[in-house]
């Protein structure tokens, strides 16, 4: 028995009686001073697909939105504190911490998050922040790899993200990264699984609509890592991709694998122009 995907979505999208109060026109200002761009013109490569790109922040209820406006209200910031502790902690056979080579994280990691995933000339492939953290640990610190979507990796990503907060996402999609980017784009638009849904089915064709009472976003990742109210902890991009693909009843991919790296590069590029949000808060 094959249920047509669009009909399945149509059934779920029909207006639910319970709508959370959401202000899609609100602006996001953190700590009364950091202005984050949460809506802007779409990058040229999205011509024909999207006119404007919108951060997931805009799709959330008022109460959820307000949690991100103050670094002491934002529950995700505690993990940045823990990441800061990790940054200065010696680990591995070489007796080094991140700080030993990179110095203060504010200087060493400024602007990094905004341009990742990125082509790495030495490695000859596109790299994510998590891969670079693990490479540093194994090759230079003599330490163990961190689990790709582990809590420890998530808080390191959170610490690094905050150092790009307010900067526009600006990942390169041309040059040596182009092939990886094309693969990610193909994945984004491919229908898979029992429900034959692609990322675009919800996040391009139906953003702003409700799936049951959930307010569908564009699926941007400028806010990652994200503190999810659902499980009260940080989620990384590959962690979320894995869950999303599984939730559409398709065979999901491995975090840290080539497919998700390509998808992360492509999805990041869809958000080019939006501000890096540091640690965002979503449901």
């Amino acid at each position: 028995m094959k249920i047509k995907a669009l009909t399945a979505i149509a059934a779920l999208l029909i207006s639910a009686p319970a709508f959370v109060a959401a202000d899609v026109d609100a602006e996001l200002v953190v700590n009364g001073e950091i202005e984050l761009v949460t809506k802007t013109a779409a990058a040229p490569h999205l011509a024909g697909a999207l006119d404007e790109v919108i951060s997931g922040w805009r799709f959330r209820a008022d109460e959820t939105q307000s949690l991100q406006t103050d670094d002491f209200d934002n529950p995700g910031m505690i993990f940045v504190d823990q990441g800061m502790d990790d940054w200065g902690t010696v680990d591995g056979s070489e007796g080094k911490s991140c700080a030993s080579c990179h110095g203060d994280v504010e200087e060493g990691m400024a602007g990094v998050r905004a341009v990742y995933p990125k082509w790495n000339e030495t490695a000859g492939e596109v790299r994510t922040i998590a891969q670079m953290v693990n490479e540093c640990r194994t090759d230079r610190m003599g330490a163990e790899k961190l689990g790709y979507t582990s809590a420890q990796m998530a808080r390191m990503e959170a610490l690094i993200s905050v150092q790009s907060r307010g900067m526009p996402v600006d990942v390169a999609i041309d040059g040596p990264a182009a092939a990886t980017w094309e693969h990610g784009k193909e994945m984004f638009y491919s229908r898979t699984g029992q429900l034959e849904l692609s990322c675009a089915s919800c996040h391009e064709e139906n953003y702003g609509n409700r799936i049951r009472s959930d307010h569908l976003s564009q699926g941007q990742i400028n806010g990652f890592p994200v503190y999810r109210l659902k499980n009260a902890k940080l989620t990384t991009p590959h962690g979320r991709f894995k869950g999303c693909v599984r939730d559409t009843r398709a065979e999901t991919y491995s975090p840290g694998g080539d497919d998700f790296i390509a998808l992360e590069l492509y999805v990041a590029s869809r958000g080019n122009g939006l501000s890096v949000e540091g640690v965002s808060v979503r449901n």
């Binding site: 029909i14 009686p17 109460e63 959820t64 009472s213 599984r246």
Partner: protein
């Protein structure tokens, strides 16, 4: 299985009704409140409970309570497996008798705040919070 438009609408309406987790209420909350008040009459007014009308996620629901002149404010969730949520005892250096926190709600239910005033009297306020189900399962 092909869905006709009629089938889709019928399915959709059925789903629409089911997006809100059904209302829950247990007698344990009344007993817990009575234990706090000692069975005394509970008035209304002089206490504010701020809670969202619809909680985006039942795992983390922000609430705030305020009762000028109160010694203690207790909060109860009438539809949770156990009704007690939090007790705020205001000390000598409390700036006012208000506090905010984040709570877990198992489903749509009434959240009730009861304040014990300085003169030993009690007042309460309650708020119905709808807890919703997302569509993505995740």
């Amino acid at each position: 299985m092909e869905f006709s438009r009629r089938d889709t609408l019928a399915l959709g309406l059925g789903v629409a009704v089911a997006t809100v987790i059904p209302f829950r209420a247990f007698a344990a909350a009344d007993e817990a409140i009575a234990a706090f008040t000692g069975g005394a009459d509970v008035g209304a007014g002089g206490i504010t409970l701020t809670a969202p009308e619809i909680a985006e996620n039942g795992n983390t629901v922000p609430i705030a309570v305020s009762a000028p002149g109160a010694a203690t404010i207790m909060v109860f969730a009438s539809g949770n497996p156990t009704p007690g949520v939090v007790t705020f005892n205001f000390g000598a250096l409390a700036g006012d008798q208000s506090a905010s926190t984040r709570i877990r709600l198992a489903g749509t239910q009434d959240v009730i705040a009861v304040a014990k005033m300085a003169d030993g009297s009690f007042v309460q306020a309650s708020s119905t919070v709808k807890v919703t189900i997302g569509g993505c399962g995740g």
